[in-house]
Symmetry: C2
Subunit: 303 residues, 2 copies
């Protein structure tokens, strides 16, 4: 078994109805995630709306989150930035505050500014000098295509690069290719994207998943059964949650976890910052209708 495994969901960032940061709501979300049985949590990810936060808000959230969790589960802090020096500074700060891992995408800005393969390598190597484990996030948002030879070389040569979260097109195929050529250098092969390809990714050798924080407790058995070698039970568990995951992935994205946490009394508002559109009622109701029969922790948590 790899050193890193299980379900490590993304924490949503809570806002007040007036759009200001809700630190109390955000830490309540983390508390709920611990009660869901999360093996670890990740803050400031894309599903945390990191692209809508100021640096100060990132700092406040990191500090409040790490103080609140206080080592009960490992916390991943996302530090992506186009500028390598800023990514390094964020990594140093996260380490000092008690983060277990930092997560970053390849350097990018907008749709067209991208680092080359060597520039990507160099940014990760520079962050590696900070001395905190790194999770590389291979996500479409960056617009950067990270091929298997590059990722394998990075995992082999950058000592602190220990985890790879693959959530690009063809995640299962990429995980298979990666583990074949660099399995010994990867301590945590993860997938993400709400678990929409979880079964195929576990079959491919993933040991962990980064889902949303909505129904962690209900998705967890898929991972647990699979890692225990009971693939048939994992398949049944996956079919049970897939309609909800599918609806989240295709109709709601990160707004699903907020809708669930609002419905369960975890947070006080499901506000999303402009230009993100509020989740339409048919979608939030459709999603809640799908998770209610699963009786997830989130809907009972604040009641």
């Amino acid at each position: 078994m790899k050193p890193y495994s299980g379900i490590w969901p993304v924490a949503p960032t809570a806002f007040h109805a007036d759009g200001t940061l809700d630190l109390e709501g955000s830490t309540r979300a983390l508390e709920c995630m611990i009660d869901q049985g999360s093996n670890g949590v990740c803050i400031l990810a894309n599903y945390s709306e990191q692209f809508l936060l100021s640096d100060q808000e990132r700092y406040d959230l990191t500090k409040a989150s790490l103080e609140h969790v206080a080592g009960r589960v490992p916390v991943i802090v996302t530090i992506s930035h186009f500028a390598t020096d800023i990514a390094v500074a964020r990594a140093r700060q996260a380490k000092e505050m008690g983060a277990a891992i930092v997560m970053m995408m390849a350097p990018y800005h907008g749709a067209t500014l991208k680092g080359s393969a060597q520039q990507t390598y160099d940014q990760f190597a520079a962050v590696g000098e900070v001395g905190i484990p790194i999770m590389l996030q291979d996500a479409p948002l960056s617009g950067v295509d990270l091929d298997v030879p590059l990722l394998a070389r990075m995992a082999r040569e950058i000592e602190m690069l220990k985890l790879l979260k693959i959530e690009s097109v063809g995640t299962a195929a990429k995980l298979r290719a990666l583990l074949e050529v660099a399995g010994a250098d990867i301590d945590g092969p993860f997938d993400g994207e709400e678990g929409i390809t979880l079964m195929a990714d576990l079959d491919a050798g993933a040991t962990g998943t980064m889902t949303s924080a909505s129904i962690t407790d209900q998705i967890k058995p898929v991972v647990t059964h699979h890692l225990a070698g009971d693939r048939a039970a994992a398949e049944v568990a996956y079919a049970r949650v897939l309609p909800a995951i599918n609806f989240e992935n295709r109709q709601c994205q990160f707004r699903a976890a907020k809708a669930a946490m609002l419905a369960g009394g975890v947070i006080g508002s499901d506000f999303c910052r402009h230009p993100i559109a509020p989740l339409p009622r048919w979608a939030s109701e459709g999603y809640l209708d799908l998770i209610r029969p699963l009786d997830p922790v989130v809907l009972r948590w604040g009641k």
Copy 2:
């Protein structure tokens, strides 16, 4: 009820193992699709690998397909081309050969060449002069963002533009917005993309779907029940097929239908033209394992 409804799958294009076009296999695929209960069929779509065919092969396939089907179900012929004159010529030819409908994306070539909104409008208007119903395909492959006001204006002003197949990001939300502002001008609101968002799209008002040709008979009840007003039965039917649809959509794409048709003796080879990679064995086996318990027509058809 809208004039166009039901399940209208995409016909795969069969190749011999040496990579040449297999017209007999392609018409056998169409025959299987009719036996699956398809309400209509579509040829030369992206799931037909239209981007890998010569103009001559397009012509041969169109001719063979229309002669074979011989009016038993309506046939949609895809005619997309960056050049408006070529799209018009293809539409004229398809009409003469007996096509019921032509389908086209907004004009594009590669990742960066795109028509403007007005150029897109003008291409559809020009094809509309041919006098055959048009299905507009709103698909990510084009890279063109067709907003709701533009689509609504086109549906209102271009008489032959009667069907809209939406399979972009947020299909259900887009269908809702479109039907709200232009419902009276749309005779066939469809979705596509293997049915991966089918339930939400039917809820949004879609009356038809363009899936792959793999398990048409198994997906059809979702549409039939929903259109008959029995949403609960549709939901059960959808949950039953979703693991297979999900695996096709995320692990196999158009290669799933070929794997199924090869396994069922419909076609003699699942060859895909370079640079398309053959479907890896774990994926074809994984897909077949998911559809086998559904007992679909395709796996019995050639036996």
